[in-house]
């Protein structure tokens, strides 16, 4: 910062510290570097969703007119279909890249000391992202959205005593109605962003603080043999190139496979035969269905939900089981646990789609 303006700004904003950080920050380069881009890809899809979300807000009307307003966006407003399709595709791609990011950091063991809070904040972001997805899914109020939400809100209702009360309060009544849409809308556009953005900032600040994690294979090498590249401009340029690829994929999917809008929800019609949730809830949907088949009655419900919750708690706590290098047997157990989780999620998801009636395909 040579100029007088530069000095004036620096004294007040501390810019030189940021520039210092950017010029000296280096990123490890090795055979697993590919996985470093997935957090950035997820962030890219999130920014696309903020942008398209604001555009959708201009015409969307929550409450009784929800379906009609989405019909207008999709069929009457110029390029409305494209904005809506981009928003929906971007949401799915964001959850998808977040999963890739999560599993790659899991198997490269990036959650180890001192990055535990990167792991926790990342999981919080994924869970918030899934609530974003769940709340956004209802907003068009078509029949699939209506019944998928009905099932989703039926799940907390099986918790004894407080369950039905929580479900009623979230729904705004015993049935999904215009009240539910307004509640989900407030959640989707105000409450969730207000929670998501500070956690995202923490996650990004921690990446700056701790730097990129190096996998085991790198840490075994002596320090002078580990390769790094400057963050700016080298890594930033690569990041930008990856974002361009992500944009191309998103544009292709959104334009070639526009998001559909089903018939308006009608509570008196039986649920459509091909009812299913978004793919990232398919695994839990199928597990619930299978447990219901194997253990009829309430036990199956509890067993299915219990299995998922125990798995999730173990997943969150993994930095405590496998806290550092040379964790020995626990490191291997964590890897095996991860492989089992991936296998269960994949098998139950594929199974869920395989047993759907033909109408879904």
């Amino acid at each position: 910062m040579d100029s007088r303006v530069g000095n004036w700004l620096d004294e007040r904003l501390g810019l030189s510290a940021i520039i210092e950080l950017a010029t000296h920050k280096r990123v490890p380069e090795h055979k697993h570097s590919f996985w470093y881009y997935w957090g950035g890809i997820t962030l890219f899809f999130f920014t696309v969703m903020c942008f398209t979300g604001v555009l959708l807000l201009l015409y969307y009307r929550p409450g009784n007119e929800a379906y009609e307003s989405v019909r207008q966006i999709t069929y009457d407003i110029q390029f409305g279909w494209l904005i809506r399709s981009t928003h929906s595709w971007s949401a799915n791609l964001m959850i998808g890249s977040a999963f890739v990011h999560m599993f790659s950091t899991y198997f490269l063991k990036s959650y180890r000391r001192p990055r535990e809070f990167l792991w926790f904040s990342g999981l919080a972001l994924l869970l918030l992202g899934m609530v974003f997805g769940f709340s956004g899914y209802l907003l068009p109020m078509d029949d699939l959205a209506y019944f998928a939400t009905k099932v989703g809100l039926g799940i907390p209702a099986v918790v004894p005593v407080v369950g039905p009360w929580i479900s009623d309060l979230v729904r705004g009544g015993p049935e999904i109605s215009a009240f539910t849409v307004s509640r989900f809308f407030a959640l989707h556009v105000v409450v969730l962003p207000a929670l998501f953005i500070p956690v995202l900032m923490l996650h990004l600040a921690l990446v700056q603080k701790h730097g990129m994690s190096s996998p085991e294979s790198e840490l075994e090498k002596p320090e002078h043999k580990r390769k790094t590249i400057p963050f700016f401009p080298n890594f930033a340029m690569k990041d930008l190139a990856v974002w361009l690829i992500a944009l191309n994929v998103l544009a292709f999917l959104a334009a070639m496979f526009p998001w559909s809008l089903g018939p308006a929800a009608d509570s008196l019609k039986p649920a459509p035969m091909d009812i299913h949730p978004e793919w990232y809830f398919m695994s839990s949907f199928e597990v619930l269905k299978l447990f219901g088949k194997w253990f009829p009655g309430e036990f199956g419900e509890f067993a299915g939900l219990g299995l998922f919750n125990v798995g999730l708690v173990l997943w969150v706590l993994v930095p405590f089981f496998d806290p550092e290098r040379r964790a020995g047997a626990w490191a291997r157990r964590a890897t095996w646990f991860g492989l089992v989780v991936v296998a269960v999620l994949l098998v139950t998801t594929i199974w869920g789609y395989a047993v759907l009636p033909a109408a879904a395909h």
Binding site: L153, G154, L169, L268, P270, A271, L288, K293, P296
Partner: protein, 156 residues
Amino acid sequence: MSENLPPEADDPGRRDFLKFAAAGVLGAAYAGLVGYPVYRYLASPVEKAAAEGEVKEVVLDDALKTPKNAALMFKFGQKPSMLIHHEDDTWTALSAVCTHLGCTVGYEPDKKIIFCPCHGGTYDPNSGANLGGPPPKPLVEYKVQVSEGKIVVRRG
């Protein structure tokens, strides 16, 4: 001044505890005062629906036109419900809300069962008994009364 008071009143541990207790009580009072109207505001449609849910009977004027081996869907208060016309000309009225996770169930005339597409639960169309799949309880059955060109469905 401390000489005039019993010694324990001056104990700093006790004073801190009283301070925390007072702050706690005050905090809880404020949380209650702010929380109560907010809670009632949020729960308002739930309470209203509960009041409407006390509907005792529904009159279905055109129900007799329902063909045999078919079901008529109607609302009992706010709850989706179904009136089934059996082949032997008897009638059964049931809640159409699956007891598993609350999907709307449908009558399948070919198999003569009630089916829930969400998780594959099945019920007996004569009694509402849960036959298979995840449902933990039978469907709620209503009383049916056939009279002069209409059908009256009452809470059982």
